[in-house]
């Protein structure tokens, strides 16, 4: 015990003053304690209290139900390389579940709102005036044709035929153009949705959902 002797010699006082004698010097501690120290005293059994069993079942029940609630977020499944048949149904099922929960956006910062809502809103805004214009166009066209008829009473019959033919063609063209436009718009939206994968988002606040046309578009995505 050379080391200890040296240690003792280092003290400038009698160690006995502290109430420590050589005989009852406690053992020195070596290194940190064990990670799993041996329990000297066995833990006491649980104390049975009133309602313990009930709270136990409540606890397990909460755990299970929370897992099924929409606030239990699952990570976005990585898109697999191969498109599987079941994906469609899996996604549909998820969506049905997801629609259950829509937080009140008035109580949350606006920045948390998923962007999926924004383009859709815009498109809805855009579409409305378009539809109006198509109706207006019709009315304008019919008006024009009436005006033309009244104006061209004096004109040559040949000319009139030409004009009416042209007009008819123009009308058809117009219609087709419009259709194309609308389709193009829908297509755009689909692209946006697919890009962002926001279709599977359940933060859809349901406002513009269920309008009919939007529903159809959603189905077309898959």
């Amino acid at each position: 015990m050379a080391g200890r002797g040296r240690g003792m010699a280092a003290f400038t006082f009698r160690v006995e003053n502290l109430g420590i004698s050589r005989a009852n010097m406690p053992e020195a501690r070596r290194g940190p304690g064990q990670l799993f120290p041996i329990l000297e005293c066995k833990p006491v059994p649980l104390e049975p209290g009133p309602g313990d069993d009930y709270m136990l079942s409540l606890k397990q029940e909460i755990r299970d139900t929370m897992r099924q609630l929409p606030c239990y977020l699952k990570p976005n499944a990585a898109k697999s390389e191969v498109e599987r048949y079941k994906d469609k149904y899996a996604k549909e099922r998820i969506q049905i579940k997801d629609e259950e929960w829509t937080p009140d956006w008035n109580r949350l910062p606006k920045e948390l709102m998923p962007k999926a809502n924004l383009p859709r809103k815009k498109s809805a805004l855009k579409k409305k005036p378009k539809k109006l214009t198509s109706q207006e166009k019709d009315s304008v066209l019919s008006k024009l044709s009436e005006l033309e008829k009244t104006d061209n009473v004096n004109a040559d019959e040949e000319k009139e035929e030409n004009v009416s033919e042209n007009k008819k063609k123009g009308d058809d063209d117009n219609d087709e153009d419009e259709k194309e436009e609308i389709e193009g718009e829908e297509f755009d939206e689909e692209e946006v949705e697919e890009e962002n994968d926001y279709i599977a988002s359940y933060f859809d606040n349901g406002d513009d959902f269920g309008a009919g046309s939007d529903d159809n578009m959603d189905e077309a995505t898959y």
Partner: protein, 545 residues
């Protein structure tokens, strides 16, 4: 935030909201207030998921947001309240308390609100009525008005309260940061708006649900209705409380727990009758006493006598004797504050908590280190400061053993050492070494230990479940098959055949697993009781200073 708290929060979030929220939550806890952008960048998660997680956290009141430190006009910052996350551990107790106070209806209301974070009254009432109806026999149904009355009872007794108003919102159209400038006083993230700041906090809204009392909800559409978050009636008529959300008032529940704790402690220490007296005193001063008050409002013996329920049949002289006994008790649950009116008595709430916490500490020392160490510990608690020699003498334990125990306690930080030098050179020979126990820091340390214990319990449970995943899945599948067979009316032999697909050893293993998990879960519940006691003691010690 301590490591243990963060770890426990992570486990709780994981268990209740899944791994995604857990990641966002723990990151927020570790780094304090952060903006959305910062969270996305630092967690490397998709923006979409982070947004959803924040929504979940805010919905459950575990996350507060507001204009950041840099003032209004800057991006919104988010901050997780660790305390609130840890309350998740206590959910079963809240629900059980609601059940014991307000029956099944109250239980279901509290349960639904806890599970969803916040709910409108109409939505909660409807969901609860549907659930109750489903559990009833055919032909019976739950009246909405009954649920409404249970709900209003809960609100009147302040167990439920309105969610605080979101100040920063209001007229904020686009998600740009400039909207914050329009908000008058930006709530600093450190002090979120308290629910009590709202004068209507406990006022019930007028909802027109009364007209549509009974409605049968059989199993076929019950599933769809359960998640009904949209406050819409069948006929699309608005209910009238669309934007009034309710949450559980945890503080009120904690006051109730505290009172119950004091009452049951008195019942253990003295007897049932004295606990009833204390219960009466607490009930009388429930309304008049501030939640953070150190003691209740003084009550005269006459008042207490009049308020005692006649069924106890306690005579006036007996009451006086009991009160004297309570005042003389070393636990000091009841104190005497004056002599007028037959003696004025108070319940020492904070002192009771401190004494209960002390008893917890003592019992921990006793169970971990044996009764003789506990004797030393109690001795130090009573005598405050003692020298080593004195400890040996007073505790009447042989010097060597006493030293051993004392050093063990010292190394576990349950006992502190105070040096008092006689000379400025701190020479050991001329220094007093005084051993002492400081209750508050020791309680704090024990609280952290409790957090660690719960984390370990949860982790052990997860491990057990993972180990037996295959068996669990198999038994679930077979149960499903059995259920479907039973509905189709299969023969008993067939059923038995399916049942036998789980072999006897598997069945044994499943049984053992169930036992283990039950034990672990009950342990969690019981550790939480200690956590609650220590937390309220630490909080009360903070306010009395």
């Amino acid at each position: 935030m301590t490591t243990q708290e963060v770890r426990l929060c992570g486990l709780l979030l994981q268990e209740h909201f899944g791994g995604v929220v857990e990641k966002v939550g723990t990151h927020l806890i570790r780094s304090g207030a952060l903006t959305l952008r910062a969270i996305v960048q630092e967690t490397n998660m998709s923006l979409d998921l982070v947004k959803k997680s924040l929504c979940v956290l805010v919905q459950h009141g575990m996350c507060v947001f507001g204009a950041g430190r840099r003032g209004p006009g800057w991006p919104v910052e988010y901050c997780v309240c660790v305390e609130r996350v840890l309350y998740m551990l206590r959910y079963p107790r809240y629900i059980y308390t609601a059940k014991s106070l307000y029956g099944d209806t109250g239980e279901l209301i509290v349960e639904e609100i806890l599970q969803r974070g916040q709910m409108t009254m109409s939505c909660a009432v409807k969901t609860v009525a549907d659930r109750l109806t489903q559990n009833m026999e055919d032909g019976c149904s739950m009246d909405y008005s009954e649920v409404v009355s249970a709900f209003s009872n809960l609100v009147e007794t302040h167990f439920l309260q309105r969610c605080p108003l979101v100040a920063e919102q209001g007229s904020a159209p686009p998600p740009t940061t400039s909207t914050l400038e329009t908000a008058p006083p930006p709530p600093a993230i450190t002090c979120p708006p308290t629910p009590e700041s709202n004068p209507d906090c406990y006022r019930l809204p007028q909802i027109n649900l009364r007209g549509r009392g009974k409605r049968r909800r059989s199993s076929e559409d019950g599933e769809d209705q359960r998640g009904g978050k949209k406050p819409k009636l069948d006929n699309g008529q608005p209910v009238g409380d669309e934007d009034i959300y309710w949450q559980v008032n945890f503080a009120r529940f904690h006051l109730h727990f505290r009172d119950q704790g004091i009452i049951s402690a008195v019942a253990c220490k003295l007897d049932q009758t004295s606990s009833e007296i204390v219960r009466t005193m607490l009930r009388m001063s429930e309304v008049t006493t501030q939640p953070s008050a150190a003691h209740t409002q003084p009550l005269s013996a006459n008042e207490i006598f009049r308020a005692l329920p006649p069924s106890y049949s306690i005579g006036r002289p007996i009451l006086d004797q009991y009160l004297t006994l309570l005042v003389d008790d070393p636990m000091e649950f009841v104190g005497k504050s004056g002599d007028s009116g037959g003696g004025m008595y108070v319940v020492n709430l904070h002192r009771a908590l401190a004494n209960l916490a002390r008893a917890t500490l003592e019992s921990v020392v006793q169970e971990r280190f044996g009764s003789r160490s506990a004797r030393i510990f109690r001795l130090l608690l009573r005598k405050r400061h003692l020298e080593q020699k004195q400890v040996e003498d007073f505790a009447m334990i042989p010097a060597k053993e006493a030293k051993d125990m004392l050093y063990t306690l010292l190394s576990e930080n349950l006992v502190q050492l105070q040096e008092i030098p006689k000379t400025p050179d701190h020479a050991p020979s001329r220094t007093f070494y005084l051993y002492t126990v400081t209750q508050l820091p020791t309680a704090r340390m024990l609280l952290q230990r409790c957090y660690k214990t719960v984390s370990n319990l949860i982790e052990r449970r997860l491990f057990e479940t993972k180990e037996n995943k295959r068996h669990l899945e198999k038994s679930q599948r077979i149960e499903a098959i059995l259920a479907s067979l039973q509905t189709t009316g299969a023969e008993p032999t067939q059923l038995q055949e399916v049942e036998e697909m789980i072999t006897a050893p598997e069945r044994q293993q499943l049984e053992a697993l169930r036992n283990h998990i039950n034990k672990l879960d009950s342990s969690e519940n019981q550790v939480d009781e200690s956590i609650f006691l220590l937390e309220s003691y630490i909080k009360s010690a903070g306010t009395t200073r």
